[in-house]
Every structure is written in structure tokens, then in C-alpha cells.
Amino acid sequence: MLKIFQRLWQVNWAEQWQYRANLIMYLLYWLVSPIIYLAVWTSIAQSKGSVSGLTANDFTTYYMTLLIVDQITSNIVIHTFAYKVQDGSLSGELVRPIHPMLTNALVNNIAFKILTIMGFVPIWTVLYFLFKPEFSSVTVTGILLAIPAMLLGFLVGFLLSAAITSLAFWTTRVYSIHEFYYALSLLFSGQFVPLTLMPKLIQDIAQFLPFQLLLYFPIQLILGKLSSAQITQGYVIGIIWLIVAITVFNWVWRNGVKRYSAVGA
């Protein structure tokens, strides 16, 4: 098994390395909106002193941490997998004795992630000197607590995206469904603004949804803003969602593959 992963890694790394020039564009694309939100909210906080108790530095550290966490927990499975179902190139992978999604697609995502992180580190450093955040509330304990949380967030996010991507077995409009899912995550993940500034109703719903596991929960852990009760609650919800995500993905995948009849066959 280990050997299979090793080989998959070599293939996927080589494949991603080919597209390293595109990567810079991708990074740029993905960096812009957090930086804009950072600029907007710090400018508001500066003019008013603070926004609901958050200072300009609180916003700067929040979004600077968000950039890192998002890099680790996000995935691109919809872009690398859905088309394989549509053009039939999945057939070759299905006859192999390994799971196409949980081995090949997963390793491909991780290769992509590591390559983007290599490009991301220098950019983040430049942003650090431009915005000068002060990370005084960050502790080693917080970071140690955040690492498993980010892993959990990545797994939940990956499995849910994989389940949505597998809807491609039923419909060609899988990209539209994914767009809707993405909009929900903007609303509930803390991407736009720290969730405490959201309307009460959205906050109440958000804490039970999986989206905050990918951003808000790990960010607040790193920044040391959570009480131990909140940490426990976050992890419990995370584990429940992991079980849900595994079950949903398995169900969608099994029924999807049954429906699959390759194009051209």
C-alpha cells in the first residue's frame, strides 16, 4: 500500500510541477479577496477605534492567519475530478484495484497543496511586512491544538467536496451545485468576516455546520481566542461531521459508480 502511495505521489507531483507557472496565477487569484476584506475591515476599525471589540490588529492577524489555514484546509477536487466522469477518462482508473478518489485524487490534492505552499511562503512574508500584524496572542499550545483541527477540517472538506464532485455521475451541472456549496461556505466559514460580526442567526447556525471547521475554528485556535469549552465543542462537532462526511461520500460514490457508463463505450 505504501508503495502505491509513493508511486502515486511521484506521478502527481510531476504532473503538478508541469503547471507551476499557472500556480502563481492561481495564488494571486486566491489571495486577493482575503486581502481586500483585510483592508476594508482594518480601515473601519481604524476610523472607529474598534468594531464590536475587535481592533485593527485583530482583523489583520485574523486574515493573515486565514491565508495560512485556507491554504492547508482547502481542496481542488471539483476541478481535477469532475471532468474525468464527464469525458470518460475515469474508466482507466476504475479498473485499478485502488480507490480513484481516496488515493489518486487525494494525493494529487496534496501535491498541489505543497507546491502552492512553496509559492505562498514568500508572498506571505511580503504581506507580513506590508501589514505588520502583531501575533502576541498566539501560543505554542494554540498552534498544537490547531494542527489536528486543520487536518480534521481538510478531511471533512475533502470528503464533502468529493461527494459533491461525485454527483457528476448523475448530472452535468455539478459545477453549478458546487458554486452553491461555495457560496454557503463564504457565508458560514468565516471567510468574509470573523463569525462574531455576523448576524446572530448566522452565527448560531454556523457553529453546527462543517464550514467553520475549515477556517474559523482553526484560526481562532491559533489566535488563542477560544475557551476550553468552545474547543471541546469544536472538536466534537468536527468528529461528528467527519463521520457524516465519510458516510455521505461512501453512499454517493457507491451508487454513482453503479450508474457510470463511460462515454464512448
Binding site: 487569484y29 486577493v32 480601515s43 506590508l130 501589514f131 458554486e179 457560496a183 460580526l197
Partner: protein, 261 residues
């Protein structure tokens, strides 16, 4: 006259193409409405916490959202589909046939694909602009409105010209098929007035990739923030950038050698 005839022919073809995918069009319109809802909600959240950002109030930001949507429509309805077709034609050499047509190749390359259903986005944008400005209660004179229209057009021309330059670069660097990503990436910066951004970002989106010239500037014109000389300067930038773009396009064409030969 010839150009207008051609444009209407392009429109007809594109309407027919989108009618072939009716269900997709409906889904796309629904998604578009969803994003509008999100944009308004996010502005609502911002103004729940403050009265102004960068000196602009809620109504003015709704107006800005309208102007932003105009540029966004330009991007989605014209720039994306045509760039895709253009890059393809450079790779497989079908650009040869485009060049053989007895019309301006720049026009042909940039207008042959139009995502027609996006036209309704323009109406939506107009509504946002009118409603937003009424909400903010600014007094607008006829001159302000005229300035606004003039600046919107020249802003759109600046974006159009930048697009021409970016895709013309493909003549020199054939592999550069990420040519409009940088434009698309920075477009989001147009949602908010540039006055809230730190200086380096303001310079980037005003001078390097001048998104702000098409979003913040027209609205500043409407608010009466700009002196007549400034207005003339921005209109001048529109004209000059178009002239430069057509020159770059001509030079680029000379570089083109076809994919098959």
C-alpha cells in the same frame, strides 16, 4: 455600418447558441441572483458595524456595486468567452482564418462570442446604481450624470484596451494562456472604493491593472469629487490606452506565424 451589421449577426448567433442550453441559462440566472443576495448581505454586515467606509455611505456602496457589476459583466460576457476562443485559435492555428476575413481582426477576435443572457445583468446594475444613489440622498445634477456616463464608458475602454494588450502578448509568448487571469483576480478590488485600500494596493489597482478607473472613478464623478480637469484626464487615459492597445495588436499580428506552418 458594416460593423453594426456584423455585431447584430454575432448577437443572433450567440442567442441561438444560448437557446440550445435553456436549462443551463436558468440555472445560471438563479446563481447570479444568489450572488447578488450575497453581495447585498455582505454590504449589510459591513454597514451594521459602521456608517461609512473610506468616506462612502451605504447607498453609495450599492451604487458602486452596480458599477462593479457593469465591469464584471464585461468580463464574463465578453472577455472570458472570447479569450478562450482566441487562445484556442492560437494553439490550433485557426487564427489564420480569422485573419483572412476582410474586417478588422481586433474587432472580430473580441466580439465574436457574447454570453447574451448576461444582458439582464446590465439592467440589474442600472437598478442598483439608481437605487443606491437615491438611498444616499446625494443631489445629482445633469452634469454629474453626464460625467458619470462619460467616465463609465472611458473606464470600460481602459479595461478593454488592457485586455487587448494582454491577449496580444500571446503572439509573442504562445504558452501564455493565463493571459486574463490577472485581470479577473484583481477585479474583486472594484467592489469597494479604493480610498479604503493601503497605498500600494491603491497604486496597483489604479495604475498597473486599472480596475479602479472603471469602478471607483465613475462614481467619484457622480458624487462630484472630481475637478473638470481630472475628468478630462481620465477620458484622455481612455482614448490613449485604446490607441496604444491597437498599436500593440498590430505589432503582435506581425509576430504571428501560424501554428501549422
Amino acid at each position: 455600418m458594416n460593423t453594426l451589421k456584423l455585431l447584430s449577426a454575432f448577437l443572433k448567433v450567440n442567442i441561438q447558441m444560448s437557446l440550445a442550453y435553456r436549462a443551463d441559462t436558468i440555472v445560471n440566472i438563479l446563481l447570479n441572483l444568489m450572488w447578488l443576495g450575497w453581495e447585498l448581505l455582505s454590504l449589510g454586515i459591513i454597514f451594521n458595524n459602521t456608517d461609512t467606509i473610506g468616506g462612502w455611505d451605504f447607498g453609495e456602496l450599492i451604487g458602486l456595486l452596480g458599477v462593479f457589476r457593469l465591469v464584471h459583466t464585461l468580463m464574463i460576457a465578453l472577455i472570458w468567452p472570447n479569450t478562450e476562443k482566441f487562445n484556442q485559435s492560437i494553439r490550433d492555428g485557426s487564427m489564420d482564418y480569422t485573419l483572412l476575413q476582410p474586417i478588422n481582426s481586433m474587432f472580430l477576435v473580441t466580439f465574436s462570442r457574447i454570453t447574451v443572457w448576461r444582458a439582464w445583468d446590465l439592467i440589474l446594475a442600472a437598478i442598483l446604481i439608481v437605487v443606491g444613489l437615491n438611498m444616499s440622498g446625494d443631489t445629482t445634477t445633469a452634469v454629474d450624470i453626464l460625467t458619470f456616463i462619460l467616465l463609465t464608458i472611458s473606464g470600460a475602454i481602459v479595461i478593454y484596451s488592457l485586455w487587448i494588450v494582454l491577449i496580444a502578448l500571446t503572439f509573442w509568448f504562445t504558452k501564455f494562456d493565463n493571459n486574463v487571469t490577472i485581470l479577473q483576480a484583481l477585479l474583486d478590488a472594484g467592489r469597494y472604493p479604493v480610498t479604503v485600500y493601503p497605498v500600494w494596493l491603491r497604486i496597483l489597482v489604479t495604475f498597473v491593472i486599472p480596475i479602479a478607473v472603471a469602478t471607483t472613478v465613475p462614481l467619484q464623478g457622480l458624487r462630484g469629487d472630481l475637478t473638470p480637469i481630472r475628468v478630462l484626464m481620465f477620458v484622455g487615459i481612455g482614448v490613449v490606452s485604446f490607441l496604444i492597445a491597437s498599436q500593440v495588436w498590430k505589432r503582435g499580428l506581425k509576430q504571428y506565424s501560424g501554428a501549422s506552418s
